[in-house]
């Protein structure tokens, strides 16, 4: 639920949302893992091609 404390200058209380943080970091971790595996395969292919 969105809740914040405010005065007439619009102050706000923000708190870390660990679930949202986890969701995006896990997604990036997965994505990078896939891209690195792809990069390694490409590098191996290129190596094979030059031999």
């Amino acid at each position: 639920m969105h809740v914040k404390s405010t005065i007439n200058t619009g102050s706000m209380t923000a708190s870390r949302n660990a679930d949202r943080e986890k969701a995006r970091l896990v997604a990036y971790n997965e994505g990078i893992k896939k891209l690195m595996e792809k990069a390694m395969k490409d590098a191996e292919k290129a190596k094979g091609g030059t031999q």
Binding site: S5, T6, T9, S11, A14, S15, K22, K33, L35
Partner: protein, 376 residues
């Protein structure tokens, strides 16, 4: 079923009936609040003797209403939230309005420019490619989180300072107010997931660590930059010391992935990943995993160590060309200046030659006299 405007009106009209008697004279208002990448409708119920009130956003309550929750239940929930978030009535507003008190608590924030045009129109900011640096006054933290006030054009004007001054102050406060952090993704994932995994593995730490390790990329090639609170940590991009330490650790050439306004990821450019693939990944994760209020940008960035600037990686060539053109222009300007100097020297020499040829040479004694006069 009520439409959204009718829903808001009903909430404003009926909410006092669900609150204790002490709220009878309170002022009920609904205001549009500009947040990162979105606008929300905030309900405030302010007692006559208070300058502080929690804001309760109605947007998600309307979604619950559309999903079938009764208006009475929603009003009861809102009333409960309001009572649970009663704040200290004696808030000292001079902490914000008095620049001398506020200046040591001014901190920078980094947000995307693309969907924040309205918000940025109200706030002093500087641009960093398609990212914007805004400013806020940090008022401290408690169990509910970190409290801050965004600095608006109006507040800045009332202080009598410029945006450039605000920027310098915010950058100089960065280290003391929200120290930056630079950790490997493995470390961050372990902090985030290991306790739960150990629990799931019946307390077997080795098994949990093995499971975590299987989730990680084959080599440690990803890093997370943020701050100790992990809140609005993208501002760590403005920490030159941090950026220099990253260059020392992984080299000059690296990509910055804007995972959210709370943290960014860093991958070395020599890790073999294509820029296009990285951009696609950022877009996909933003669409599927990142809440609009946390989103920073859909682009990938690089860091210019000379100018201490972050710029879009897809514009690197364009930027380089502009830089070289600027260098070229400078060189042309210098050359033109030299040629001008040379030309005027030539003219003077030619004049001198003419003078000698026509026998109009000045009397050196006269000159000497002048010189003397000057010296005296």
């Amino acid at each position: 079923m009520m439409n959204y405007d009718e829903f808001k009106e009903t909430i404003a009209d009926e909410i006092k009936d669900f609150l204790p008697e002490k709220f009878e004279d309170s002022n009920v208002a609904i205001n549009t609040v500009q947040k990162n990448n979105e606008q929300l409708d905030g309900l405030t119920i302010t007692s006559p003797d208070s300058n502080v009130s929690p804001t309760i956003y109605l947007n998600s309550y309307y979604e619950s209403y559309q999903d079938g929750e009764s208006i009475e239940d929603i009003l009861q929930n809102i009333a409960t939230v309001r009572m649970d978030h009663e704040v200290d009535k004696s808030f000292d507003i001079t902490k914000i309005t008095d620049f001398e008190q506020a200046k040591d608590h001014i901190a920078p924030r980094v947000i995307g420019m693309e969907d924040n045009a309205e918000l940025l129109a109200q706030r002093p900011h500087s641009e960093m490619d398609d990212l914007a640096v805004t400013y806020c006054v940090m008022l401290g933290s408690d169990e509910n989180g970190s409290m801050s006030v965004p600095i608006t054009n109006q507040l800045m004007e009332s202080w009598g300072v410029t945006q450039e001054e605000l920027h310098d102050i915010a950058i100089s406060n960065l280290e003391s107010l929200s120290p930056s952090t630079f950790k490997s993704m493995n470390e961050v994932m372990a902090e985030m997931m290991l306790p739960q995994m150990i629990e799931e593995c019946g307390g077997d730490r080795d098994m949990a660590e093995a499971m975590l390790s299987a989730m990680m990329p084959p080599e440690e090639k990803m890093y997370v930059i943020s701050n100790e609170e992990k809140l609005n940590g993208a501002a760590a991009l403005l920490d030159d010391k941090l950026m220099d330490s990253i260059r020392e650790k992984i080299g000059d050439d690296f990509f910055i992935l804007p995972s959210s306004i709370h943290e960014c990821l860093v991958v070395p450019a020599d890790a073999g990943m294509e820029l296009r693939d990285l951009e696609n990944m950022v877009k996909e994760v933003n669409e599927t995993q990142v809440a609009p209020q946390d989103r920073l940008s859909d682009h990938v960035y690089q860091y210019d160590a000379d100018s201490h600037e972050v710029f879009r990686a897809d514009k690197a060539e364009e930027r380089q060309a502009t830089k070289e053109a600027a260098k070229g222009e400078k060189a042309v300007d210098k050359k033109a200046e030299k040629e001008e100097t040379r030309a005027s020297l030539k003219d003077r020499l030619a004049e001198k030659k003419k003078e000698i040829a026509s026998g109009e040479k000045k009397d050196p004694a006269k000159d000497l006299g002048k010189k003397k006069e000057t010296v005296i």
